[in-house]
């Protein structure tokens, strides 16, 4: 118990220290951006710093009370990404900036609420069917008449009174919870075939049924809503978790095959997807239309070069969707390859911390959920940046924590809260499992294999 008492403030102290560094970094970036753009200190620098600090402090203090042993790295990383994104949004559009500030506040509230509502990750597991149902309803909402709306060819938006949001951002978390819980329960059943068909041992279909149903439904809905990016995201999540849970490579192969078939089918049916693929294959031939955005994105990245043209001094406003889908290119123009690489590293560190949480977890559900959520972050970054750099067709999803957009920000803060909840659980469970310092050390040693952990521990001490 001695260890625990010592460890408890240390982790939060480290978090607080890193939070201050993030505050400094974000503040400097904000000032530079304004100096670059207007040649003056931002008029609202003091309220800005106070607000950022207050929001971080609320999140930090709530962790001290609600999840004192949670990982210290995740929150500062999220704050760094959120802050960087805000600076660039503020530089592009004032109205969006104030909205984004409000959404950040709501995101922090959602973060605290999630932590408070689920004192243990197991609580999530208990409500898995309700959560799955909520996820499906959320996915279906944009299709409902009157409240759903098409934007840029995809039907993603829901209007409820004054609220406009993209429900799929929340649905992805709900589905991750559901997949994880079902897979955790039935991993062994899914790993080995029990029914014999000819020479083959085949899986008992009924074990897979709820999964297949949820997956098929989500895919169908997404195709109906023309949201290819999210569709890919869900699919990766599903197949990835299935593989992690069972260890059957066949699932990966089968999943990839299924997705390819689905994608080819989608291409045939969905006009929206066709234009995007055309723009992907030859953007120059479609410069005036579908290729314009990607080429403007390249122009921005090329203008940025290695170090960028300087915060506030580029012309990212000429890129369509410069603050949402293409904010990565906007950032690349002004802080260069070095800056965007730092962003990518921040995501990798988040994923590393998330996977460390997964590895340390003693419970299958938590392990799978932490893995799923961590992978979601990075796969989403891959889909966005891969789209901008023409590795894959553009799909129009948001860069987590960075892009302008309330739904994305709030749902990602909830995702973060769940990861931290699992992390806190791990420490508690290890403590309960008896005072085994040797085991703790072993677990820590194991975790160190993930990127940058060592550095962060040093900061913590």
């Amino acid at each position: 118990m001695n260890t625990q008492r010592w460890q408890r403030p240390a982790r939060r102290r480290a978090e607080f220290g890193m939070t201050l560094m993030v505050l400094l970094l974000t503040g400097c970036l904000y000032v530079l951006s304004n100096l670059g753009r207007a040649g003056a200190l931002p008029a609202d620098i003091v309220p800005f710093l106070v607000l950022v600090f207050a929001l971080m402090l609320v999140a930090h203090l709530s962790l001290r009370h609600l999840a004192p042993q949670a990982d210290p790295v995740l929150l500062p990383l999220a704050a760094l990404l959120n802050g960087t994104g805000y600076v660039f949004i503020a530089r592009l559009d004032n109205t969006e900036a104030s909205a984004q500030a409000t959404w950040t506040a709501i995101g922090v509230v959602a973060f605290v609420t999630t932590l408070a509502l689920f004192p243990r990750a197991a609580n999530l597991e208990r409500y898995r069917y309700s959560i799955a149902l909520a996820g499906i309803i959320l996915l279906l909402l944009p299709l409902a008449p009157h409240i759903g709306e098409d934007i840029n060819g995809a039907r993603l938006w829901v209007h409820l009174g004054p609220l406009n949001f993209q429900p799929e951002e929340f649905a992805k978390i709900a589905l991750a919870v559901f997949f994880s819980s079902v897979l955790a329960e039935r991993a062994d059943l899914l790993a080995t075939g029990t029914r014999r068909i000819g020479r083959w041992l085949v899986l008992e279909p009924r074990y897979l049924a709820p999964l297949i149903a949820a997956w098929a439904l989500s895919l169908l809905v997404l195709l109906a809503e023309n949201d290819l990016g999210s569709s890919f995201l869900f699919f990766t999540l599903f197949v990835g978790l299935l593989w992690v849970a069972t260890g059957r490579w066949a699932y990966l192969v089968l999943g990839t095959g299924l997705f390819t078939v689905g994608a080819v089918f989608a291409l045939d049916v969905i006009h929206h997807a066709q234009t995007r693929v055309q723009a992907w294959l030859d953007p120059w031939a479609h410069f005036a239309t579908s290729g314009y955005q990607i080429i403007e994105g390249w122009f921005a990245l090329a203008a940025g070069g290695l170090w960028g043209v300087g915060p506030g001094q580029g012309n990212p406003q000429v890129i369509p969707e410069s603050s949402t889908d293409f904010i990565f290119a906007s950032i690349g123009e002004e802080i260069g390859l070095v800056g965007v690489t730092a962003l990518l590293i921040a995501y990798l560190l988040m994923m590393g911390s998330g996977l460390r949480v997964a590895v340390r977890s003693q419970r299958s559900f938590s392990k799978l959920l932490a893995t799923g959520l961590s992978l979601l972050l990075v796969v989403q970054v891959f889909v966005v940046v891969g789209g901008i750099t023409r590795l894959i067709p553009i799909t129009g999803i948001t860069l987590p924590f960075v892009s302008y957009g309330g739904s994305s920000l709030v749902s990602n803060y909830m995702l973060l809260a769940i990861l931290l909840r699992i992390s806190d659980d791990n420490a508690n469970e290890q403590a309960l499992a008896g005072s085994r310092p040797a085991g703790l050390t072993a677990a820590a040693g194991e975790a160190d294999r993930f990127a940058a952990t060592a550095v962060i521990e040093v900061v913590g001490q």
């Binding site: 990835g240 070069g305 012309n315 996977l355 891959f382 891969g386 750099t389």
Partner: protein, 497 residues
């Protein structure tokens, strides 16, 4: 558990791999494509870049901002502004997205876009210079005075014409205004429609505002050219200066079929050159021209800057022209008319101002210039213009004799320039009234003062005047020159210790 953890790590590695692919692709873009992308004609950033840089300010000698770059809210970042509008439009020129640059904006583009190092930040605004290569461009100060420019515009009172004032000792252009002028602001608009509309309107204007009358258009100099003819007499045939020419109302022109040149309003005039000059006797000066000869007259005109592009620091300066000596062979009529500034003699108002300045400056015409100095963004002087002579038009002796002639024009009771008299200040001047071939006439006055220590030389042109007695160089243009001289000397007197 252990096996699952292994797979979690593998999944993590897979995700790392995705990030590495993205990172590699970003590098590939930077290394192999960035250059081509930067230079792609579809890339609007090059143009945006040019417009995203602030340009230095142009500031008048009395500290008024004539052109400046201010932050704009649109994508071009900086908006070029011309607070004085049409008053200085033909001097500053414009910095236009569609139509390029003109005037000082063109001539001193490199100055206005250059940052003279080192720049140490003195206030917060400049801190960004440390973090970026954002230039803090140099500002240029010009010799022209807003007050004189305003006076010139006020005195012209909307009539087409030009006023050029020069410091004879340095060649500094103190004022240079012509009507019609134009406001460069709409040409610098970031709205292409505004630009194009403004350009179309300027193009359609018969007064051709983009061709400043003061330095880009030519006019018949009329009797103001008699200064050059008189100089030719002093320099080449000094004996003619004291010859007496009998009174006459007409001169039969040689080599013509009995064509007769008459004096203005059919007056009779005669006497020595001083008398001829004072009353601006056409028949007398035509005879002087014939006597001094085409070769001498053409050579003299060349010495006074005719036929040479004036090295004023503005683009598109027009040349004054005097016909080559060969045209006068067996064409005495042309010579006689040329000697009084008619026929095909063409003058840019700037040249006449410089010629007056040359007389004032003991025969040496200084290079005219608008640039006074260049200052860094923090006010430190980067360079100061050093006055240099352009032409030695004549000897100090001739200049002094010409001065006497010009003083007589203003001071003699029968002088044509009596309206330019200023109590307490001796003014030297010469009137001009030129037929244009059309119904209207052009009225001129060139002058400098004070005669003892000349501080200002002026050329005034008022176009399109009705051909009547009350619309002569002496009555229309002389008062404007007088006002310019008076105002400038008063200003100078105040500022002098």
């Amino acid at each position: 558990m252990r096996a699952t953890n292994q797979r979690v790590r593998l999944a993590g590695l897979g995700a790392c791999l995705l990030m590495i692919i993205v990172f590699a692709q970003l590098n590939y873009l930077q290394i192999f494509h960035a250059n081509a992308l930067d230079n792609n004609p579809l890339n609007t950033r090059n143009i945006l870049e040019q417009y995203a840089q602030p340009r230095g300010a142009i500031i008048s000698a009395d500290g008024v901002t004539l052109a400046q770059s201010v932050l704009s809210k649109d994508q071009y970042k900086y908006q070029r502004q011309y607070p004085e509008g049409a008053l200085f439009g033909q001097i500053t020129g414009y910095f236009s997205f569609t139509y390029g640059t003109d005037g000082l904006e063109d001539e001193y583009n490199s100055v206005l876009t250059k940052t003279s190092a080192p720049v140490l930040p003195t206030d917060l605004k400049q801190i960004r210079n440390f973090f970026t290569n954002q230039p803090a461009p140099d500002n240029m100060n010009v010799t022209a005075l807003t007050s004189l420019q305003q006076l010139a515009a006020r005195e012209l009172a909307g009539r087409d014409g030009a006023v050029v004032a020069i410091d004879p000792k340095t060649g500094a252009v103190l004022a240079m205004y012509s009507n019609p002028s134009y406001d460069p602001s709409p040409l610098a608009s970031h709205d292409q429609t505004v630009e194009q509309e403004a350009w179309k309107a300027l193009d359609a204007n018969p007064g051709r505002p983009l061709l400043a009358a003061a330095y880009r258009q030519r006019f018949f100099p009329g009797s103001t050219f008699k200064v050059i003819t008189a100089a030719a007499v002093y320099d080449h045939q000094p004996a003619l200066a004291s010859r007496y020419f009998p009174y006459s109302t007409g001169l039969v022109l040689p080599d013509t079929a009995g064509q007769v040149m008459h004096n203005f309003a059919g007056e009779a005039c005669g006497g020595t050159m001083t008398q001829l000059f004072t009353v601006s006797c056409d028949t007398g000066f035509a005879q002087l021209g014939l006597d001094v000869g085409g070769t001498n007259l053409a050579a003299e005109a060349k010495q006074w800057g005719w036929g040479t592009t004036t090295p004023l620091d503005l683009p598109g300066v027009a040349q004054s022209s005097f016909p080559p000596a060969s045209t006068f062979t067996r064409n005495g009529g042309a010579l006689a008319k040329s000697a009084i500034g008619q026929e095909s003699v063409q003058a840019v108002p700037l040249t006449l101002a410089l010629d007056a300045a040359g007389v004032a400056n003991r025969g040496v015409i200084m290079t005219p210039h608008l640039l006074e100095s260049v200052t860094g963004s923090q006010g430190q002087t980067v360079m100061t213009y050093t006055p240099k002579p352009w032409l030695t038009a004549t000897s100090p002796a001739t200049a002094s004799k010409l001065t006497q002639l010009m003083v007589s024009v203003v001071n003699s009771p029968d002088g044509t320039g009596v309206e330019a008299r200023i109590p307490g200040i001796e003014v030297a001047g010469k009137t001009g009234t030129a037929q244009t071939g059309g119904p209207d006439i052009e009225t001129w006055f060139i002058a400098f003062a004070p005669v003892a220590h000349p501080a200002i030389a002026v050329a005034v042109l008022v176009e399109n005047q009705p051909p009547a007695d009350e619309y002569q160089g002496g009555t229309v243009a002389a008062p404007i020159a007088k006002a310019m001289i008076e105002s400038y000397l008063e200003m100078k007197g105040k500022s002098a210790p």
